[in-house]
């Protein structure tokens, strides 16, 4: 059910800053839990999320929990396939915000009986959130960390996702802590030699770092951690630390 005229005006007022976000979210936080079973209410939440005004607010946790618990998407430990279709459609319609990612991760944790392609959906949801203009906010970093720390079986696709995020947030005002998070996971992925085929992850990271048109502090730190852990690295890669010495100063 699409947003009605009042809701659309409401959304536009939030987006343009003529309506106070906190009071709107406070009001939405008081609605009856039965509202979460209503597709129109869910659409309103995702539409507000797409404005990036919801992610940094404390209400995001409550809205996500309520959505997961009261939509009917979870039947026991199984996830209704309709959830994928609806979330995908709302993201396509309005864009992606932190809340949508959080909902997907909450569903991942609660639904232990998931289709095989579930993690592909999660990765796609995260991946498409980063298109070059969205920095890694503190809240989003927390959420992304949660995804990586919850993985019992990391794959090459998760490393590729991390490289994508790093690439698409270059030059933006990323949260403090992202560099270290990126570097530590890259180093650990190589050290553990994850993925099918020996050395594949190292080759992937080596190529990504060498292809980088400009070295970021996150990449420098990753190279340094790899070097420190005794991983043999391409000479060109090592020289990047030397040429970026100024940027590295004060990092450690």
């Amino acid at each position: 059910m699409p947003l009605n005229a009042t809701q659309s005006e409401y959304l536009e007022a939030l987006r343009s800053g003529t309506m106070d976000t906190t009071s709107v979210l406070n009001e939405l936080g008081q609605v009856d839990l039965a509202a979460y079973a209503n597709a129109n209410f869910r659409e309103l939440l995702f539409a507000i999320d797409a404005t990036n005004l919801l992610g940094g607010n404390e209400w995001v946790v409550t809205f996500a929990q309520n959505l997961v618990d009261h939509t009917g998407w979870l039947v026991g430990d199984a996830l209704d396939p309709a959830a994928y279709a609806e979330i995908g459609q709302l993201h396509e319609e309005y864009g992606r915000g932190d809340y949508g990612i959080r909902v997907v991760l909450d569903l991942t944790e609660k639904a232990t009986n998931r289709p095989n392609n579930h993690l592909s959906f999660v990765r796609r949801t995260i991946r498409e959130s980063f298109r070059g203009i969205r920095p890694m906010s503190e809240q989003l970093l927390f959420t992304i960390k949660r995804y990586y720390e919850s993985l019992s079986d990391r794959s090459l696709q998760d490393v590729q996702l991390l490289l994508h995020i790093q690439e698409e947030t270059k030059g933006l005002d990323n949260a403090i802590g992202f560099d270290r998070f990126f570097a530590k996971h890259v180093e650990k992925a190589v050290r553990d030699d994850i993925g099918y085929g020996k050395g594949r992850v190292k080759a992937l990271i080596n190529t990504a770092l060498l292809d980088s048109d400009e070295v970021t502090s996150a990449e420098c730190l990753a190279i340094k951690l790899l070097k420190d852990s005794g991983v043999s690295l391409d000479a060109d890669l090592l020289s990047r630390i030397d040429t970026s010495r100024d940027r590295l100063m004060g990092m450690y």
């Binding site: 864009g95 070059g132 203009i133 030059g171």
Partner: protein
Amino acid sequence: MGRQITNLDNRFSQADLWGNSFIVDLEWTLSDDLDLAALCISKEGNNNSLIYHGSVGKRAAPPYVHLAHESDGDGRMKLRREHLVITRSNANSAILVFVWDHAAVASGSWAEFLRKQGSYSISITDQRNHRIQLHPPVVAGNCLLVAQIRDSHVSSCGRATTVEEASHLSWHLADLAGVKAEIQPCR
């Protein structure tokens, strides 16, 4: 160049954008090689730069433009896409967004896409995921200025800018001083 920009102002309608980074999405159905480009006007006025497939800039040193060709997945390219990422637009006094037909510009001929209604669409998305669909007119030429992004004021919640949508402007690329000489062969 400055005079031309001033002259353009009367021909635009305006819409608000939020933030200082934007994505311009271009989709087209013709087999022609269309390109997105951005002319970044520096605040000092003496360091303008053209960002396009031959000179994409750097992410960490704005302006930066990322051009990505995407197919529709079946390899037949029914729909072609290119997007341009503008970061930290507030480093410039204005950014002019263009779309041109590479071959038509190189040969000095008129481009088909500008004369064929519905053959392409172009939109700008801001940091609040607000997508503004631009509606370029059907005109004759081979290069179209589709939007002008210019800082208007700074607000406490971020940097507000305006996008001014071109209504009926088109001219041969040669009229853009110095630009044609920079065109390089397509990738």
